[in-house]
Symmetry: C2
Subunit: 323 residues, 2 copies
């Protein structure tokens, strides 16, 4: 019996690094994780990781064959195989694919988590039949992966897709990037928390969220409050959706995608965020694009989306060679 081919999908997060074995239909055969230890250098992480991978894969090697290694990591450069000054890891500038080659001769590829999510949606998820779409990840920040003519856009230097750092208001909120008013300071899980606290300060609207401190507040709690009718929480969703809808209308004007796929923590709020974002996007949309562009939630299963996305990098390369 011939073995089933699987790709390793690895997602490097600030706290944990998750990995799994994924077949060409997106079935996750096995998944596990190790602590990232953000203060360690990259080679130590991959040393621990590949020891664990080798050990775990032994249980599967009779029936499965490894065909490649796909990695999602912050500030990853697809062209160079590097990770460059990631904000939450003490890695500096490091060539990850060179490290990986010490452990495995298999084909490998790396990109950031939003790009991996976009390729995951294209290969396994909500964008299977699409050639032009954008994935927006609404997590701690706002990431994006742009697909045009069936190919992920890496741009001239490998770093394209920073929709989260387009500017809403050049005198607006301070952003971690050192500038002001970036979209992600408004439209992300952190952004809506900032909005709630700004509204607590600027309005007298009663809210159960007035009893929570900023560091403890989560986007999920804001969604729960909104679902129980908390007016301030509802206003925070409306404000977030208006800004996101406006910037998505801008993105549509530039790129005319078929759909925008929302992914990540804040997208889990479902129609609290998706419906008003769509409504505001249409309100701000240039006439010729009105009622053409879908906004849809991710179709990757939440818990394993990052692994599926990373593994899809490899499945996508094989797909390209078949064309």
């Amino acid at each position: 019996m011939s073995k089933t081919k699987v790709a390793i999908g690895i997602d490097v997060g600030g706290t944990n690094t998750v990995f799994g074995f994924v077949d060409h239909e997106g079935t996750l055969i096995y998944e596990s994780s190790i602590p990232t230890n953000a203060n360690e250098k990259a080679d130590l992480l991959f040393d621990r990781l590949f020891k664990k991978v080798d050990e775990e894969f032994k249980k599967f090697s009779a029936r499965y064959e490894l065909i490649g290694i796909g990695i999602g990591a912050p500030n990853a450069n697809y062209y160079k195989g590097t990770v460059e000054q990631p904000p939450n890891l003490n890695w500096g500038y490091v060539n990850v694919l060179e490290i990986v080659k010490k452990y495995s001769p298999l084909p490998s590829a790396i990109t950031n988590d939003a790009n991996a999510a976009a390729i995951g949606e294209m290969i396994f998820g909500a964008a299977k039949e699409m050639k032009n779409f954008i994935v927006i990840t609404l997590g701690t920040g706002l990431g994006s992966g742009i697909v045009i003519n069936g190919e992920l856009v890496y741009g001239a230097d490998g770093f394209a897709g920073e929709v989260g750092h387009t500017i809403v208001d050049s005198n607006g909120r301070e952003c971690g990037c050192g500038r002001k008013g970036c979209l992600e300071t408004y439209a992300s899980a952190t952004g809506i928390r900032r909005t709630v606290f700004e509204f607590i300060g600027t309005t007298t609207t009663p809210s159960e969220l007035r009893n929570v401190n900023f560091n403890d507040l989560t986007a999920k709690e804001i969604a729960d409050a909104a679902n129980s009718g908390d007016k301030l929480a509802l206003e925070a969703f409306d404000y977030t959706a208006r800004i996101l809808g406006l910037k998505l209308a801008d993105t549509v004007a530039c790129l005319s995608p078929e759909a925008i796929i929302l992914f990540g923590g804040l997208a889990l709020a479902g129609d609290l965020i998706i419906e008003p974002t769509k409504r505001y996007m249409e309100e701000y949309m240039l006439n010729i694009f009105k009622n053409k562009v879908k906004i849809i939630p991710s179709a990757l299963p939440g818990g394993s989306a990052a692994i599926l996305g990373a593994s899809a990098l490899i499945w996508n390369e094989l797909e390209k060679h078949r064309r």
Copy 2:
């Protein structure tokens, strides 16, 4: 002796329709124009145009061979071959390539003028060696043509590239598109005229432009005034460049192009617009993109750029088939 191959380039403007015969090196063998008669339907224009083309080409047919017809026209859809509700022409919705087929069996293609300019720069101009770049046309409005991975971006519906209708300020200047605050209401030949008149109203800055009425004022006069040290004209260029630079920084964050090429009436002001636009773009740029993206003027000869761009549509199709 074998004949030299030439493509017909046609650019449909609100006043005149220009056309010419262009070889594969971008040499314009012949050019001429006819009045567009904007109130006429499209088929009447092309009837007059092809009579003229046939008549003129007779003089060249001994040495040249026609290989295709490229057309630039407002609101043109590359996929469908249509022009849809052009703002300055009484055409409604019309399939231009079907009309063209009545007159010629040659391969034909149509797109809008900004996309034609981008393909012109790629085949004959400033972007010959580039795979990722953006052309911004600063004329009556602001048009853009986006090239990614060596291909023009038409998007899902054929209308991508409307950077001019991304929103600077959703409560800003009224735009011809029916919305408010579009980039082209600030950054275009018309935009800088509006800025001059707004500044005449809002400031007491002395200016020779206080003697000109709005309808008579041209971008060239504003450039001439700025070059003679007129403070209000200089401030208008600075304001235009700041807004354009900010939105170009946004575009770079999304697409990471190698260069942005400025084209059209206002770009002729040279370093009055290019230098400060570059400076503001860098000021607003996300760190990872700083000092990577060139802003350069068009390298297509001004008078015949539209014809060269339209003909390049055909040369680009042939190029694609060779790859």
